[in-house]
């Protein structure tokens, strides 16, 4: 009769947490795969503009990044004017872009030089004058393939 009767006063069994590590590992692996370590520490503000007619970069290996924007929080000693950043330092003389391009050409090797792409990561509050100068320098060394890095979104909406 009392076959189904519960033992009075018995405590609930503890929930098994044995599968918790599995779940956490799964998340961990996701983030490990999705993570791209930042190559450069940014000394400048870098809020990219929005555009919706964007293309994906084909290969990461044959891309060099040119950053531009106003010096960020903590780097105000470099002034308040928008600057160009190559690798880890700000440059004041834009002709350094030419050496930068040459360095990257040597790095990627001869076969890839034609595919080398200069990606401009420019803060959206920069004046076009600086960008024009950068483009002029790139033309000077015949680096004609460029890419304006943007976020995917509606460009017409106001910030």
């Amino acid at each position: 009769m009392s076959k189904f009767k519960k033992g009075g006063g018995k405590e609930l069994p503890a929930i098994s947490t044995a599968s918790l590590p599995d779940i956490v590992f799964m998340l961990l692996f996701f983030f490990m795969v999705a993570t791209v370590m930042r190559e450069n520490t940014l000394l400048i503000d870098n809020k990219l503009p929005y555009a919706d007619q964007v293309e994906k970069l084909e290969s990461r290996s044959a891309v060099m990044y040119i950053y531009a924007g106003k010096p960020g929080e903590g780097y105000k000693k470099f002034g308040t004017e928008a600057k160009v950043q190559l690798n880890d330092k700000l440059v004041s003389n834009l002709t350094e872009i030419q050496t930068f391009v040459q360095e990257n050409r040597n790095k990627v090797g001869e076969t890839q030089v034609g595919k080398l792409l200069a990606a401009l990561k420019v803060d959206k509050n920069t004046n076009m004058g600086l960008i024009g100068d950068v483009k002029e320098q790139l033309r000077e060394v015949n680096q004609l393939k460029i890419n304006y890095a943007t976020l995917n979104g509606d460009p017409t909406k106001k910030k």
Partner: protein
């Protein structure tokens, strides 16, 4: 000796270790944006080459002033109307020789998509965001027309043809998509000239 079951390893702290790693990766992750607008700069200016003479009606002037105001063909315009205006200009078919155009054959707009040139002029003080927004609208206009023709000829959008060309694994496949891509590109060649406006 009596058989003894191997003692179980306590895996209780495994979760802690995994959490630690997880938090590390969460903090260091920056999902990098790897999208952008691809452009090709014109080669260095050669003194010996004379610039071709372009008829006024084949030229579509877009000026962005230093306070980011848009001036299209000397008329002020809102950014949202730029795409429509560009499509109307490119697709105009002034001389009636473009079989695939659907434009209005306006006297003052381009004669043929092959001849249509868009000239973008910006001042040094123009904001980068507005420059990108305008580039975006111009590309959107080209993409719209190319998509329309690709849809008509191959039953597929231009962008998906480009994507398939990029993803193609064998050489023959790549060539096949490339052919289609080139055909559409030839119908509406992208001719955008850029210059810094003199104040």
């Amino acid at each position: 000796m009596a058989k003894r079951a191997a003692p179980e390893v306590n895996a209780g702290s495994m979760a802690d270790i995994a959490f630690l790693l997880l938090i590390f990766f969460l903090v260091t992750t920056t999902i990098e944006s790897d999208t952008g607008i691809n452009r090709k700069l014109p080669p260095k200016f050669d003194e010996r080459i004379k610039p071709p003479i372009i008829k006024q009606k084949n030229l579509f002037t877009v000026i962005v002033s230093k306070d980011n105001q848009l001036l299209v063909e000397e008329e002020p315009m809102e950014l949202k109307d730029l795409r429509e205006a560009t499509i109307a200009f490119l697709d105009n078919n002034g001389d009636g020789k473009c079989a695939y155009c659907k434009g209005k054959k306006d006297e003052d707009l381009s004669a043929h998509p092959n001849k249509a040139v868009i000239s973008v002029q910006n001042s040094r003080e123009t904001n980068y965001a507005s420059y990108i927004a305008i580039q975006n609208e111009l590309i959107a206009a080209y993409n719209f027309l190319r998509n329309r023709e690709a849809q008509r000829l191959f039953g597929e959008s231009y962008l998906s043809i480009v994507q398939k060309w990029k993803d193609a694994e064998s050489d023959e496949e790549k060539e096949e998509w490339d052919k289609k891509r080139e055909e559409i590109k030839k119908m509406f060649p992208e001719k955008i000239s850029e210059s810094e406006a003199k104040e």
